[in-house]
Symmetry: C2
Subunit: 194 residues, 2 copies
């Protein structure tokens, strides 16, 4: 049986990955969602095993030691990771699955799942920034330097992804994400495609 495809939705913190996925799943059910493990406290309304697997640090590091996480990272003093078993089982069933992870996590996934489809979600302001930085030289020097460095880092990272979506209008962003998932299901895998 043909394996499912692994999709990775990544991008800068705060860009709106969670919002976009929540909106996607309202009326699109052709892909599974990978629930992350975390050591952070559950917020009001969050459900164990649905929003996250809420674990103690000890439980979390048991997974790390047993190589049961595809990727993991420390974000703002909490640990986050993607349990491997559910992802692999889902792919094996021929079912597509999507991860919502940060840029560092995506790098780890790329090493172990080179055939995954990597989607980079960008804020519209970064695009605007790039255009602005190209068009005018009047910005104060220190500020420009920092912004340029950030822009360069993002641009560099972008080249490792398969798709980029600018999260400008939410409905359009969701439609683009949905389109990528559907289009990939029609895609012929070439031998020279890595």
């Amino acid at each position: 049986m043909q394996q499912g495809k692994l999709f990775v939705l990544s991008g800068p913190s705060g860009v709106g990955k969670g919002t976009i996925l929540a909106r996607l799943f309202v009326d699109f059910h052709d892909i599974e969602y990978s629930v992350s493990a975390t050591t952070r406290q559950a917020r009001a309304g969050e459900v164990q095993g649905e929003n996250y697997y809420f674990l103690s640090e000890e439980e979390f590091f048991q997974l790390v030691e047993n190589d049961q996480l595809i990727e993991w990272a420390n974000v703002h003093n909490n640990y986050y990771g993607t349990p491997k078993e559910y992802v692999d089982k889902t792919l094996k069933k021929g079912q597509d699955i999507i991860l919502e992870i940060d840029i560092q996590g995506a790098k780890q996934v790329r090493e172990n799942y080179p055939d995954a489809v990597f989607i980079f979600l960008l804020p519209p302001s970064l695009q605007e920034l790039e255009q602005r930085l190209e068009q005018r030289g009047s910005e104060d020097k220190r500020n420009k330097k920092i912004r340029l460095r950030n822009a360069r880092e993002e641009m560099h990272e972008k080249q490792k992804y398969d798709y980029v979506i600018i999260n400008d209008r939410i409905e359009e962003t969701v439609d683009q994400l949905r389109s990528i998932i559907i289009a990939e299901s029609c895609r012929i895998d070439k031998e020279d495609d890595n």
Copy 2:
């Protein structure tokens, strides 16, 4: 300015390419349609320059001689071809454009536009055929041979395309075609992508 992308919708004669495109354009306008030139007579209701450019054989072969057609073929004693100028002008403006052509025509386009996005439209019966041919051996020999050869030719051709859509339910087919066009607009062009 970034060039537009050239999309090629191809597939066996009678598979429904025209129907699918007509349906796509009802509520999708992010891509231009390339109007073909033909020497066949206009049918009732067909509009010059909208459905086809209706030309005399002399006019048609003037285009061929002047290298003004991207591809051309003789189908059922009429000539059909894709005028180059409109396609190139559209791509240069950064606008995507889609051609609806037969399998032979697609081969010619591939030689001159290797970066084009090739979409193969298949009838559902061919898929069913493949499955049937695999599963049972009771079919009469001559028939099976022909079908197998056709299936093999189609399968072989499929590998040269980027996407395959099975034209089973029209709404789903149109959604998949639309998704491919949108997804490609988000796609990062890799250096090793040919």
